[in-house]
Each structure stands twice: as C-alpha cells, then as structure tokens.
C-alpha cells in the first residue's frame, strides 16, 4: 500500500493518477480488505482448479459463520479502543455449560428434549454474559487495561471449563439440538448462516442507527471528548464487552451443535483470527473506526484464506505462521491508514 500511495504523488495529473486517487480514497475509506480479497481470490484461483467453485465458496461461507459472529463482537471492543482476548474462553465456557445443562435436564426428563435445549442455551448465554460482565467491570470500573483484563479472564475461564469437564468432551446431547442448530436449514438456508445474518443486521442497526452505536464510536475516537459531551463512558465500555461475550457465546452454541458435544478447545485460535478479521476489515486498533459490513467480509476473508491454504495442502503449522504474519501486516497498514485519515499529529 505504501508503494501505491507514493505513486499517487509522483504520477499526479496523468490518467493512471485518477485510478490511483480512486484506490487511495477506497483505501482510506474501507482499508486494505478489498485489495487483500482480490489478491487472495486471484492467487488461489490460479493455484488450484478446486478453489473457485460454487460448492467450495458456499462451503467457505458456511464455515465462516462462527468467525463472523466472534469478529462482530471483537469489533465492539476494538471500536472502543480495546480488544477482547477472552473470546476463545467464552466459546469454551458456553459449550461446556450449555452441554452440561442439556445432558442433565435431558437425563431427568427424557421426553422434554426442547426444554433441555432451551435451558442449556440460556445457561450457556448466561455463563458467557458473566465473563463479559467481569471484563466490563474490570475495564470500565477499575480501569484495568483491556489487554491484562481479558488475558487474565481468558486463563480463568479456560481453567473453569477444564475443571467442569475434567478435560473430557461432554457427549450425548439431545439430537434435536445438533439437528437444528448444527445441520438444520430453513427455506434451504442453513440455520447457522441465518443466525449470523440476523446478528449482522442487528449489529449494523446498533452501530449505525442507535445512540449506543454513536457512543461506542465516540468513546473509541476520543474518550475525553466523549466524557465532556456528557456520555457515560464507563457504561459504554461495559456494554461493549458484555455484548462481545454474547456474540462469542452464540458462536459457541453453533459450534457445539456442529460437533454435537461440549468441548473446551472449540475456541482455540479464534481470538487471534477475530482480531485479524477486524483489522483487515479496517477496524482501527486505535478505536473509533470500523464498519459492520466490512467485518462480515473480513471474517469471510480469513476463512477463505484458510480454505485456500488447505486446498493447496499447506500444513496447519505453516498456516499459523502465515495467519500471524497477515495480522501484523494488517496492523502495519492500519497505522499508515490512520495517519492518512487523521493527519500527522
């Protein structure tokens, strides 16, 4: 990107300059994502015949649901100028708690499968909300840095999840749960995809059409200014982490339904992946900037790249290296974009 913008100044006035100006404006407005997406599509399509097929891309869309949900939550934390490293733990806790409750209720009342599922879901969501509330109180009330707070909670939550299960997956969930939330579909659209679409729409309305959304952006953009404008900044921060946990929890429920068991390792690398998805989608690590629709595509992009690497038979170890490098590259570019946006200070 650096190179492209440098060329803008050196070729000003010629015809390609107009195209460069357009690309530059696009870069400032939405970030690096369109460029990365085009590059990935071109590269993987050239590298393999199996990549750009309707079946494969549909598959990517279905697989990306979980990351998209978590990335939407992560975006809330990022927009306020923080981040949430405990999203993986939130998924694990949701999975383990909801599975435990479902198995218990289904065991006591074998005929009431849907009651067991409902109670399980509520318990999972409540447990995740508790994590979000702890994060929110620590960050908003006691001023703990989001890094330390969510890192600590991540460890605490992972420990609790392992303690509950003893490290053994919880099986024998009611079949109705997996059949609907894992593999079901309505009008031909998979249930997880429907839920992700619904979540994205709600998030879009929240961020673009409600006061709360405006205040989330304001707190991240300049917390002192937000305070001087009469905004309760503590409440806004708290809300961001609570909602982030709820979104991660929904992803946790869908993943549990997919694997049909309560597991502690469902959220393994999702903290890193969700931050990468957001940053590549133009959510600034400095806060105050980020668009819901871009984050959805950002989550899709990460899964697309992982899918492409699988098709090219790149090993999972090497995939970790590339994913981390991609995140760092995206952050470097984000710094550069922020300077273009806000000017030198």
């Amino acid at each position: 990107m650096n190179i492209q913008v440098d060329q803008v100044s050196s070729t000003r006035g010629s015809v390609p300059a107009a195209a460069m100006t357009f690309l530059r404006d696009l870069f400032i407005r939405v970030g690096v994502l369109p460029f990365f997406l085009v590059a990935a599509l071109v590269f993987f399509t050239l590298a393999s015949h199996n990549f750009l097929t309707v079946q494969n891309i549909t598959n990517v869309a279905r697989q990306s649901v979980y990351l998209v949900l978590v990335a939407l939550g992560q975006m809330l934390a990022l927009v306020t100028g923080g981040f949430d490293l405990s999203v993986g733990t939130t998924i694990a806790i949701t999975s383990v708690v909801s599975a435990t409750v479902m198995v218990f209720v289904a065991g006591a009342y074998p005929d009431a499968a849907w009651a067991a599922v409902s109670l399980g879901l509520l318990a999972g969501l409540a447990a995740a909300l508790a994590i979000g509330v702890v994060n929110g109180i620590g960050i908003a009330r006691f001023g703990v840095s989001p890094f330390i707070m969510t890192l600590g909670v991540q460890s605490v939550g992972a420990g609790i999840a392992l303690f509950i299960t003893g490290g053994v997956p919880i099986g024998d969930l009611p079949n109705e749960f997996g059949d609907f939330f894992g593999f079901g579909s309505i009008a031909g659209i998979p249930v997880p995809v429907l839920i992700a679409i619904l979540a994205a729409v709600v998030m879009w309305v929240l961020m673009n059409r409600t006061r709360t959304g405006a205040r989330l952006y304001a707190v991240g953009g300049n917390i002192k200014a937000a305070n001087l404008s009469g905004i309760n900044t503590g409440r806004v921060l708290f809300l961001a982490y609570a909602l982030c946990a709820l979104l991660a929890s929904i992803a946790g429920i869908l993943l549990t339904a997919r694997v049909e068991s309560g597991e502690t390792n469902l959220g393994g690398t999702i903290a890193l992946e969700s931050i990468a998805a957001c940053v590549i989608a133009g959510v600034s690590l400095r806060g105050g900037i980020g668009r819901v629709e871009s984050v959805v595509i950002g989550g899709f992009f990460i899964v697309l790249v992982e899918n492409g690497m699988n098709i090219l038979q790149i090993g999972s170890y090497m995939q970790m290296v590339l994913l981390g490098a991609l995140l760092i590259l995206a952050v470097v570019i984000d710094q550069f974009r922020y300077k273009l946006l806000v000017g030198e200070h």
Partner: protein, 505 residues
C-alpha cells in the same frame, strides 16, 4: 428579588486542592444574567480550574457554589449540562473520527423512534451553521478541519445546547478577525437573551467590545473583580502580575556581533512547509504563531523528533540534517518540550535523579574506575539546584509532587546540567506562577549573555515580544515575517498570524 438581579452563578470561598498543589484558594465569583464576565490571569492562575468546577469536571474541595440560587454540586459534566452550563474548552471535546454533524449531536443524538436520524441531524446542523454564519461541510470528519473550523464546531455545539451559562475558554485564540466579529455578534445576541457568559482571554483589546466585569486571579487567589469599562490595560497587567510590566521582563544585552551557529534552509517536515532562518550566539530568537502554525513543529523536526522531508540544517559547519536527538544533544543542542509531564520529566523519580540523568555523559560524574559516583553526582546536582533556585528538600522530592513551577525549574536544571550551545525552549513558562516566571527569565538572560544561542517558542505574545532580539512569526507552516528590535509590536505580529487567510477557509 426579581429574576434579573438574582445571580446565575454564585461561588464563594471556592478552594480546590490537587495532590501537592492548591489550585484555588478562597475564590469568589458571581455571574449575572446577560453579563459577560471575563476571567483574567496568567497561565496557572486558576482560571481553568475555576471553569472546570463550574462545568462539572472537578468538584471543589470546599466553598459554596450556587446556580440560580440553589446549591449546586455537579457530580459530572452531564449534571452541569442539565443545569444549563455549557463549556467550550481550549482542549476541544470533539471526536476526530466522526463527522461535524455527529459531533454536534454527540451525547444528545436526534432520534426518530428508537433510531438515530442522521438525515435530520445533518439538516439541523446545516441550519445551525447557517444561522451562525459559519461555512462548513457538516458531513466532513472533524480530523479534516482546520483548528479554526474545529473551534467553530465547538462554539456551535454550545449554542445548540441552548446553554443558560456559557463558558468560552480563549475562543478567539485561533479565529480570524472576521470570525471573531461574528462570534462577538452572537455573544451579544446570547447576552440579550439573558445568557451569562464566562469569558477567558488574554487579548485585552477584546474586553472593551464585550466585557461587563473582569475578575483577576493570581496563583489561585482572587485579586479583585473590576468594572471592565473603568479599568485600563496597564492596570489589568499590574493586577495580573502583581508588579508593573517593566519589572517582569529583564533587559537582555545582545552580543555585539552575534555569530551564526546554526543555519536552517528550506526545512520541510510534517506541518512545516519550507522554513529558513539562522540561530545566533548571544541572541534570543523569539518564535510566535498560533497553535497549528508550525512554530513548534519546525523545531521538533529540526531536533529529529519528526521526519525531515527536505531542507538542510548546518550546525557549526557540520551538516546535521535529519540527525537524531542523540547526535544533536551530543553537539550541544537542547530541546525543552512544551509538555513537561508527557515529554520532559520522569514523574516517578525525584528531582535530583531527573537532573542527574542529563549529565551522565560528563566525565566528572565518574570515579577513578569509571563508574558513576553518587557523591560527585550529588555535588553537581546541588550546584544545579542553586542555579535554578530550588531547595534541597524539593531536590529530593518525587517530581510528580512538585508544583508546576518547580517542575519547570527541574526541566531547566536538565538544560543546565551540561554545557550547551543552543537552547530551544518550547513554551518555557507554560502553567507556572509569577515568581518562577521571573526566575526563568533571569536564566534565559544568563544563557544569552554568556554567549549561548536561545530560541524561545511561545504562545504568550507578551513574553516572546519582550524577550526576543529577533522574532520569527509562523503562519501555515511557513515564516510569515522576521522582525527585529523596534519592529516587534503586537499589531504587526497579530497581522502576520493570519497570513494567507487559510485558517479562515
């Protein structure tokens, strides 16, 4: 009592203590409906603290505070706003990443049903700016605006809130004359509507046009409240400083044949668009300009704090263009930053260690084996302590617990810790009391008269005009004028501030 002679604001015996500092000490202040009441005083006199209490940012330590005759104690800015108090602070309360319209309605967003109505916000914002006569694109992000435009947004925000009590903290500091006239027209209208206005400004010539009463503060104490029409500018200065004007600024002798020590040619960097000047030994070079004029940035670029884009800097015949602060410090250049807490001092360390850290390269701080000698450092820092007029007790105290004035002295102690050739002083007296100010001016006099080159960058026009032998006026990242001797006067300098008119765009 009728409503018109009941004060909007009644403050009596207001005290405010911060750890180690008494910012306000028994101040009385009243504001009547339809009155413009000026708060006047030096930086650090307590004006900002007083308006922060009024606006709900701070709580007073003690004292009575009534609004509309009722006891007021605002737990938050929101509480103060609900009581009709609205403040436009110098430090803008705008979110740079959001649009003008969004900023205008921040905290009181317009709704249609449960949803924010962006279209109406835009239309209302356009209408408001139209009424105010400010031309501005309400869809533009605030980050893209000039400082003057951001100021207009701040003022519009206050007018929009229909404040009963309006606090304006140096509102004209970055406005052009035309914009200032517009602002005064609106102050007049607001006053006619019964709004009380607390107005902070250093520009005494503005008071005649708008002020009813002037309250003068010095070192956190009330000096006197006077009638604006019956008080001359020189009386105000005497009230503010506690001494007559010719006794604050020392006469600094100019070296008979100042020799050029640094040549800067066509320097460009962030916010600096090609400046050329010489720095001479035994001379005080003053740098004036508005915030954002590049006056500070030019020297930060020169000192290697932000990237040099073009130009050359020659120091004593050596090319030091784009050199690092390390190299320049080794060559005897010192930069005193304007923000002492963020860039100048190690707040958790004591004053002695702060000074000692700047002299670790001196051979005479080491013992026979080449190790740091605490005894020698102690002796040397004691010497510095005497030069900057700071007591032993203060030398051993954590810097965070010293007053602003003493912190600034410690910063000068760092400057004096090693023999230097060029002192670049960025806002040398910001937020210090009168006594320290005089002491700092004596140090500057000493520096210049012992043949060092001194650069004083300052937003305090009186300071920079009275100290300088030569004065560069910055505007829009370039040098608008170079003045010397008798040519240095307020009207000329102010005239050059707005060169090119870009700020008014």
């Amino acid at each position: 009592m009728t409503s018109s002679d009941m004060p909007l604001v009644e403050m009596t015996g207001i005290c405010k203590e911060f750890p180690g500092v008494k910012a306000l000490d028994g101040v009385d202040f009243t504001l009547m409906p339809g009155e413009v009441h000026v708060l006047f005083g030096e930086n650090g006199a307590g004006k900002s603290t007083l308006i922060s209490i009024l606006a709900g940012v701070y709580q007073p330590t003690s004292g009575h505070f009534r609004i509309n005759g009722r006891d007021a104690r605002f737990p938050s800015v929101k509480g103060a706003r609900a009581a009709g108090v609205c403040a436009v602070f110098q430090e803008f309360s705008l979110v740079p990443t959001m649009s003008v319209a969004q900023n205008l309605f921040l905290g009181s967003e317009l709704l249609s049903g449960p949803f924010v109505d962006h279209g109406r916000a835009r239309r209302e914002a356009e209408k408001l700016f139209g009424e105010l006569g400010f031309s501005i694109d309400v869809g533009a992000p605030v980050a893209a605006l000039s400082r003057a435009q951001q100021q207009m947004v701040e003022i519009a925000k206050a007018f929009h809130a229909k404040a009963r009590i309006l606090i304006l903290d140096e509102p004209t500091a970055s406005l052009t004359e035309r914009e200032t006239a517009m602002l005064f027209r609106f102050i007049g209208e607001a006053r006619a509507a019964g709004v009380g206005i607390v107005y902070i400004s250093h520009r005494m010539h503005e008071f005649a046009a708008i002020a009813n009463r002037i309250t003068v503060l010095r070192d956190g104490k009330l000096v006197r409240t006077v009638d604006a029409a019956a008080t001359s500018e020189s009386e105000l200065i005497e009230l503010m400083t506690g001494r007559s004007i010719d006794r604050i600024y020392p006469d600094i002798d100019l070296a008979s044949a100042p020799e050029t020590v640094m040549k800067v040619r066509g320097l460009e960097g962030p916010g600096v668009h090609g400046v050329s000047f010489d720095i001479r030994k035994g001379e005080v070079l003053g740098i004036a300009g508005l915030v954002g004029s590049g006056k500070s940035r030019a020297f930060r670029t020169l000192f290697g704090l932000s990237g040099t884009v073009a130009g050359t800097v020659v120091l004593d015949g050596h090319d030091v263009t784009g050199a690092t602060p390390e190299t320049l410090t080794a060559r005897g250049v010192f930069y005193l930053p304007s923000d002492r807490k963020r860039e100048g001092l190690f707040l958790g360390a004591d004053a002695r260690d702060n000074i000692a850290l700047s002299m670790l390269n001196r051979p005479d701080t080491r013992d026979a084996l080449g190790f740091r000698s605490p005894a020698r450092l102690r002796r040397l820092t004691d010497d510095i302590g005497r030069r900057i007029d700071i007591s032993q007790a203060f030398l051993n105290r954590t810097v965070a617990k010293l007053s602003g004035g003493n912190q600034q002295k410690v910063l000068f102690g760092k400057a004096l810790s090693v023999e230097r050739e060029i002192y670049i002083l960025d806002e040398p007296t910001v937020g210090v009391d009168m006594g320290t100010r005089a002491a700092i001016y004596r140090l500057i006099k000493q520096m210049a008269e012992t043949g060092k080159a001194v650069v004083v960058i300052s937003s305090d026009l009186a300071e920079v005009m009275n100290l300088s032998h030569r004065l560069l006026v910055f505007a829009n990242g370039t040098i608008a004028a170079e003045l010397a001797g008798e040519a240095i006067n307020e009207q000329t300098v102010l005239g050059h501030f707005f060169q090119g008119g870009r700020l008014g765009a």
